[in-house]
Symmetry: C2
Subunit: 276 residues, 2 copies
């Protein structure tokens, strides 16, 4: 692992690191914010999974999360959204290939050689982060935006006991029913819809739910609202009587101005679970 | 004036607008955040002047200012840092030409045709902003980062009565003595050092000071610390017994991670003056 940069930030350190990824078979880059308390010992960790077209950097510089994480003594990890590099298959569309890993392990050619983002964010990167930094792996939570909200919710429900709380900003709630999902799952996972369902938050909510609280915020003026299928997850959460809330925020769109506006509440939500 | 974008943000609106600038003889773009209170009537305005290489956008997305401005019911204006366009003179260096206007009116060729940023930020843009938005022009304050901190301090001292408070993040404090200043003033203003002194915060502090409080934060690990001349402004402030503070913040560098870390305190500092 190599350090790309370290900046003092809200009394802690915002670092950027690169490492060879076995899962993705290429170099990967991630951001990690450590609050001041990490100098004394392990701190809880909140994962932030980003959306389409993003790298590790977008949320790190635009979401305004570090100040709230510092206030609660929590670390933040910002993974990249796909494998990258000249040798890594790509597509001209913004929503397939680089920047669009969808947090799945691709089984189809040409994607399967590198696009193993599920293994990367659920196994390899957690091992690297906990081995190299003062992280209390018993206190983890997960959030994300858009495609990253999909990743956060599917991870939370697929790994019982791993995360104490889960939240999402404008998540893709049912990719098996959406233009943001059908295209990518067809490319990455092929025709087997059983494989798709394992990566659909609504299907997972119907099948098992999450063993902790969930908080979801989505804007009423989200320009991609039709791709998010918020209504089917809302129905599934209510039917299961899942602890949590889906909130529709008046006038907000899909941008980081929306994410930043509600970051304080999301970090406080996770802090309550992480410090319980 | 045309609207480029509007995003709901912390209960208010983050807008981006373009207009023809008479001062700069080209189209100019600026960001304006209006808090929710602006729907009811005029609100105070805090100007944020950006640093070298920045556009209107950097601080708007990276400084984390809107949340604090919303909390205090204050608008924020983010001007660009130079004229731009194919017809506008430029230089290959990052610190001259596009993105490096230094908030002066150039008198030397080829810069004088468009580089009239002093007139733009002190006269033309204020007129446009107050004419088109719910701004209380009796309640204005100014801040900025690096080159924009230089702009903020020189504007505050050159326009008595305009601003109730002034602050800066890692400002260029004495451009007439710095690699960030001598090169640009020579290019834009020519050999007449009397013209230079009118744009040097330390010279202005020695000559007249500011009729309100000043807050300056600079990192002890600022990688451009030698270009900032913080020590000469600190001496001039102390000698004049200028109301205010220069704080050296341990471990922080020149980045927006530093700016964001202290934004809450700067906005609160201005709010106290603006709402007095």
């Amino acid at each position: 692992m190599e350090t790309v940069s370290k900046n003092r930030c809200f009394g802690g350190v915002q670092g950027v690191y690169t490492h060879h990824s076995d899962a993705c078979a290429c170099p990967m880059t991630f951001g990690l914010f450590l609050p001041e308390e990490a100098e004394q010992g392990p701190v809880p960790l909140l994962w932030y999974l980003s959306g389409l077209t993003c790298t590790h950097e977008n949320a790190m510089v635009k979401a305004g999360a570090q100040g709230w994480a510092a206030e609660h003594g929590i670390a933040l990890c910002f993974p990249d959204t796909s494998p990258r590099g000249e040798d890594v298959a790509d597509d001209p569309a913004y929503d397939l290939g680089h920047g669009a890993g969808f947090y799945v392990n691709a089984t189809e050619s040409p994607w399967s050689a590198h696009y193993r983002m599920w293994d990367y964010v659920t196994e390899e990167l957690p091992s690297i982060v906990t081995a190299n930094f003062a992280i209390d792996e018993e206190r983890q939570a997960v959030t994300g935006h858009s495609m990253g909200g999909h990743g956060a919710l599917t991870m939370a429900m697929s790994l019982p006991g791993r995360f104490r709380s889960a939240s999402a900003f404008a998540p893709i709630c049912a990719p098996t029913q959406s233009e943001w999902g059908i295209k990518q799952f067809t490319a990455y996972l092929g025709a087997d819809k059983a494989a798709w369902a394992r990566h659909d938050a609504t299907a997972l909510m119907e099948a098992r739910g999450f063993d902790g609280p969930i908080l979801i915020d989505t804007g009423t003026d989200d320009q991609f609202g039709d791709f998010l299928s918020t209504e089917v997850l809302a129905a599934a959460m209510a039917k299961r009587r899942q602890e949590g809330a889906i909130r529709l925020q008046k006038g907000y769109d899909h941008s980081y101005f929306f994410v930043a506006s509600f970051m304080e509440e999301h970090v406080a939500f996770h802090a309550e679970a992480l410090w319980a």
